[in-house]
């Protein structure tokens, strides 16, 4: 028994790697949909979109590039699904040139899943250079900031934008961001002046920094990280990438926790035997010689 325990303590790292790979892969292929507790800040975003009557204007600014895709892309999918389900008029855009292709793909992809038509039910404006200045000029006149949409059609002619001359006619804006320009820019240059409601979706890293904005009502809701995206998917009843991702998170965390518990159990079993390297301080169990190849 002790021998076995000692052997397990010197477990080949590659066994752990396989366990982690499986714990990630299986939930991604077959999402279990483990329960996720919905936080109020995510629910606020959901409730606000629920409260908008059909035909309201919803602007989604996808202000992120491929580096933040794992966290923010599922948010975009979930929000677009919700908006199209509610028959909102959806406007997509981005403030980051490197994110343009990805943003276009997600907007048009989700739209076609819901049978929505470009120009009539939704628009994708694409990218316009200038960062936060784009928001300012959109506030004055949408057509100045985006004379044409991403596909080269005049924005003024798009049926979906009838009656929408500037940000003042937009009901709800959500910025999905991993930094600046992002949620803060939309607040400072947009909401404060043009009076639309603003929500945010951000990576887990910058989410803590935005809670002050939430407390003061500068943004009405916040979706933070993959977890926030999973909460949103749960709210709209869609088991998407984020839910699958959270399942994988739970699984990998529990694998690690389990491994630690087991190895401590074995450690206490073998502690009093003379297995090399557990007694002397020079040869600490954490030392590499034990790692095994």
């Amino acid at each position: 028994m002790r021998e076995l325990a000692g052997k397990l303590l010197r477990l080949d790292r590659r066994v752990i790697f396989v366990l982690i790979a499986l714990a990630t892969l299986i939930p991604l292929l077959r999402p279990i949909g483990l329960p996720v507790r919905i936080s109020p800040e995510v629910r606020q975003v959901y409730d606000y979109i629920e409260s908008l009557p059909a035909g309201s204007v919803f602007l989604l600014s996808l202000d992120f590039d491929p580096a933040s895709k794992p966290e923010l892309y599922p948010m975009a999918v979930a929000l677009l699904n919700h908006a199209f389900k509610r028959d909102l008029r959806v406007i997509g855009m981005t403030l980051l040139v490197t994110g343009t292709g990805m943003a276009e793909k997600v907007v048009s992809g989700v739209a076609s899943e819901h049978g929505k038509q470009r120009g009539r039910d939704y628009a994708f404006l694409g990218y316009s250079p200038g960062g936060a200045n784009v928001i300012i000029s959109m506030g004055q006149e949408l057509a100045t900031a985006f004379p044409t949409d991403h596909y080269g059609e005049r924005t003024a002619d798009l049926p979906v934008l009838q009656g929408v001359n500037s940000l003042r006619q937009v009901n709800y804006v959500i910025s999905l961001a991993a930094g600046t320009p992002g949620v803060e820019s939309w607040y400072v240059y947009g909401k404060e002046k043009y009076g639309f409601e603003l929500g945010g979706g951000v990576t887990a890293v910058i989410a803590p920094g935005l809670y002050p904005f939430l407390d003061t009502g500068q943004i009405n809701g916040l979706i933070g990280g993959l977890r926030g995206a999973a909460e949103y998917e749960t709210l709209i009843g869609m088991k998407g990438k984020a839910v699958a991702g959270m399942d994988a998170q739970s699984a990998t965390h529990f694998i690690i926790i389990g491994l630690i518990l087991i190895c401590n159990l074995f450690y206490f079993l073998t502690r009093h035997t003379t297995i090399r390297s557990f007694g002397s301080p020079q040869d600490r169990p954490g030392s590499p010689r034990e790692a095994g190849r």
């Binding site: 982690i20 959270m246 739970s250 190895c263």
Partner: protein
Amino acid sequence: MTLFLRRTFPLLLTFLFGVAAALQYYIPHPLSEAALTEISVWLRIILGFAMILGIASLCHVHYAKIRTRAAGWGYSLVVYLSMLATVAVGLWSRGQEEGTGFGWIYTYALLALQGTMFSILGFFVASAAFRAFRARSKEAAVLLVAALIVMFGRVPLGEYLIPAAGPLAGWILNVLNTAARRGIIIGISLGGIATSIKIIFGIERSYLGGRD
């Protein structure tokens, strides 16, 4: 005269730039802001030139391997070829990434390689945790328990099983963790300030190397 140029002049420059850069922080005048931006551009330009040193070193190492047919010299050839190819495509694309071959290399080769190396950390946190988190001593036990609670409380399943785990993990992170981090940060700051002062006053000059 040369001794002055070789030894004293650099130290003098260090002192002048150090003091000026420190005082800049207290000067709100636009000129001082402009100077700061200007100098950071300077540093980028200097680094740009210095990169030639780096490229030379890289090429030298791999050239030596190829010339001596050292073990694995074929891989050194891979370095040369991929570097030259990337530079050629980059110049062809005029440094633009949108819809060019250069952008293609960035998206499909560089991002994929980078993302994969980064994600290997996911495996490594697991194996490091398995090896290191053993309750060998009281300190190690504290480390272990803190890690377990935080890991448990961070994922939906953990929070679902033990609802208190989430808030407890949050408390550990926001209170106990903050306290220790503050201590570490304050200590680091003092060490950093002391190093800065030694450099500015020419007490620490090993970075200049040489004896003359």
